[in-house]
Symmetry: D2
């Protein structure tokens, strides 16, 4: 079965699920999204991308941006980062402060909010304009020069940032924040507010399937670094459902509360899905179901 046929079937299979789950409602700009939308795109190592459903509709990347920020920091230098962020699953609600206190300001991994804030801080130290760097990368890989921050979302998130400000000041109190809290928060929020389509996302994430190599053939990450990012996605990429995701979908994935998920079949392809309705643990109901179908139909599980 050809890939576009697979994707077409998946669109049919998940049709009854469309609209299931709850749209993130903590900011107005996300709350008013039509929950019935669903898109899927697959990019292969040759750089070809196929899609189905609403695969070209832009949505808010949210936590999926954490994968790219992490990769850009590791590309710059992976020595300093691992002294201030761990690599182990957290086993807690994604924004809990208990563990952070227990481990004296060192976040468990780069995909919980605390860890991502430290990664953003590190990228700011490396390049200054972290969001600009991220946009440059995403535009280059996706071939979409129009990728941009949704300023309304960013502004709205900034007014709901008390929890993330608490986390950032808390790390700062342990000396684990190198730039001003306000700067880090601003950059973090802007990165999360970048709009991408499934098409953009599949292409931008392809380097993780390609052992670290970008679409132009240059190396962003070494093979070992790409393996590292994939391992972190598998163990920590879907909030407190990483174990279930590993089993059901069987490949590394990173979700965001915008309803998107980026998943990687190492050595083969990257897949992006999107549907706004979330389950109780913050992952797209229809998106995860679609990935489940995808790996079942293709047999591309890593287990």
């Amino acid at each position: 079965m050809e890939l576009d046929e697979v994707l077409g079937r998946i669109v049919d299979e998940v049709a009854p699920l469309r609209g299931a789950g709850e749209v993130a409602d903590y900011i107005p700009a996300l709350a008013r999204i039509d929950p019935g939308q669903f898109g899927i795109a697959v990019a292969d190592l040759g750089g070809r991308v196929v899609g189905a459903g609403d695969w070209q509709v832009p949505f808010s990347a949210q936590s999926i941006s954490k994968v790219f920020t992490l990769a850009l920091v590791l590309a710059g230098s992976d020595e300093s980062l691992w002294r201030r962020v761990g690599r182990e699953p957290s086993g807690n609600a994604f924004n809990s402060l208990v563990q952070l206190e227990h481990e004296r300001g060192i976040p468990r991994n780069p995909f919980i909010n605390a860890g991502a804030l430290a990664v953003t801080d590190e990228l700011i130290s490396q390049v200054g304009d972290a969001t600009g760097e991220l946009l440059d990368f995403l535009r280059a890989e996706s071939g979409n020069p129009d990728l941009r921050v949704d300023e309304e979302v960013a502004a709205s998130e900034a007014t709901h940032a008390h929890r993330n400000l608490a986390v950032t000041h808390f790390m700062a109190s342990y000396g684990n924040m190198h730039n001003p809290v306000a700067t880090v928060l601003d950059q973090y929020v802007r990165q999360c507010s970048i709009e991408v389509s499934c098409r953009d996302l599949a292409l931008a994430g392809l380097f993780l399937a390609a052992h670290g190599v970008r679409r132009d053939g240059s190396e962003l990450l070494t093979s070992r670094q790409a393996k590292r990012v994939n391992a972190i996605m598998l163990t920590c990429g879907t909030y407190d459902a990483a174990g279930d995701f590993a089993y059901r979908v069987g490949i590394p994935g990173k979700s965001g509360v915008g309803g998107g998920v980026l998943a990687i079949v190492p050595g083969r392809c990257s897949i992006a899905v999107w549907s706004p309705g979330l389950d109780a643990r913050g992952n797209s109901v229809t998106g995860v179901a679609a990935l489940d179908h995808f790996t079942n139909m293709t047999g591309w599980s890593i287990f």
Copy 2:
């Protein structure tokens, strides 16, 4: 034995302890205090005050200010406060976030930092200029018009406020902060940075021994409210050593990392001690020893 004789003896008794403990060193202005200083003052219900040692030397009130801010808020209205701050001992390090997360942004009591920040927030809502209100009260009760904020200490604390900023944003994320975080922090830090002497402090705290009645005969708190404040001082006033303080000293007390302690013999007198060296739990080594002597010599324990 007359009170001034008692105080003189205490100065002799604690002489070997002078300099014991560690001076709070997280801000330079506190770190350079001469640790050998010690003062004690007692004010009785008639408004007489006697003192010994360095009892007229000003020091940083720090957390002792929390007693007065609480009293001023309760004087304004004690309905709203108890919906957002508890009244139970915390049994944790004084600035832990774990319990605050467990209880969804409601601090355990008004004397842990989180609780005091909520109290300050409440006072701002009541009167606007919280620090001004506090200074007015302290000046009136002590009869010392020169009481003021030590601006160097305040500025220095403001640059070390990450932990308190984390706590305040965290409460704000639960909706338990009514004024802007920056405003609350600024007022909180300024209140902590007020300079008082033992003499000032004993006079200012006298209303708690006098069932809520101020030195001019007006009622700040009802008798029940004063009892409430005394009970909170006893169970929560000395960080994670409230149980030991209750036993050793046997009367309500509130300490600060500036090395001061205010203690109350209900119906009789207020006592202020000061010596900068702190024990491992943040209470003045020599100050607590002096209070221990005081209640033993006078027999004025509540137990």
Copy 3:
């Protein structure tokens, strides 16, 4: 107003509250108690005891026994105990394991279950038959030779002891248990299952009002030790409501889930109340209300 008149009035005052709250229902023998019962007794330093209501009806002492076990251990030797049990309020649900883990097997205070189990273990090491020792003491002080363990309650508690067994094994894993877990649990459960009336309890607790002196004039505790027990009762005696109890009632008290409370006015008298209905924090609704009336009517608050 004479004391018996005070008690008569209190019976009238709390009449509307009789039956309020929930009877402890985790064991059948407690669950079938008539919730409408209420008794109060006061014993003064002269050894006179007056009572009202159901003051001579026996009820299950439960956690109130912890006060006496603690006193007996301290009478034997208070050096060793304080190396294995703390003296600070816990600020958690009364049977939480979190704090015990955080503090590596050292319970916060002698009145949480973990602490009381360590105290029982200590008493077994001192005297062997801990329950026998406790019964001897209670019988002598109350003058009631019929005081005994309710074997049905004890047997029933033993079959619901998983949580306490967990706590005891947990302390044992840190080396903080000197006798076999089964022995300690058996003794602990039997102590909790002793039946006392308000009359018995007021007389048995009188030594805490009398600075440690027993009814026969012999010294069980030194004055300092008695003060220590009173301070622990005030800060830790009523589960997670110690702060509120300190304020409302204003004297040291220890409650049990059988619905009893023992309270002490140092230097003056001991008071025992009983009514089976409990509030959400495990304290007798009507019993605490009665103590509130008592201290208001007599003015005998320590604050």
Copy 4:
């Protein structure tokens, strides 16, 4: 390169590491193991097994037994188990009670001690003699009829079981234990005390590489169930180092404090390594290094 050549090279590569780490010393029988030993064995889907070093020396399976107990329970019925055990990484020390309390007696996953105790309890309910069932399975798959419980180790573990008894009683207090605590502990300890060699272990674990199919061609687990076990091994199999193991080794693995590790290349082979010295997180220093070499040399990472 042939497999036996690969294994020979690995023996050379890890030679300098032999003896590194700390041998588990909480029971005498484990503490006196010669730390310089190292073995490795690989079994392929055809049932062939090759080995090198001390690959035929028996060692204590310890927590590796949890994989087989889990598989046997799932083979019996996987409905009931997942109502009482979770499938998410724990992110805590492997025997922490905090999370268990937070989640009301439901262990996070089957590989922390609490979870494995629940799995053993479930197996007892299914078959009665859980250890007998496990031994039958291990003997059949390994073709080694002499596999047995090391009774000295079992007896020794039973006397150091306070922590596990605490955990088991704690779950029982939440109703999450169906058989008597003493029975469950006894069976659990005996399963952990089974002696296996690398050869035995590689053969016994082969069904996980073979999508659930046993060596005789019968199905122990469905393909989805085998995938589930592999996913849990990857995310939870190496205590608080699962993230690092996933990255370094890149395949599912389960370690034990006896120094063994079982690892799975799905669809290809199973690998068993053993060397007694443990790192700070409880995994075999030399064993994990050997697996790292193995997946690097063969290229058989899942990422």
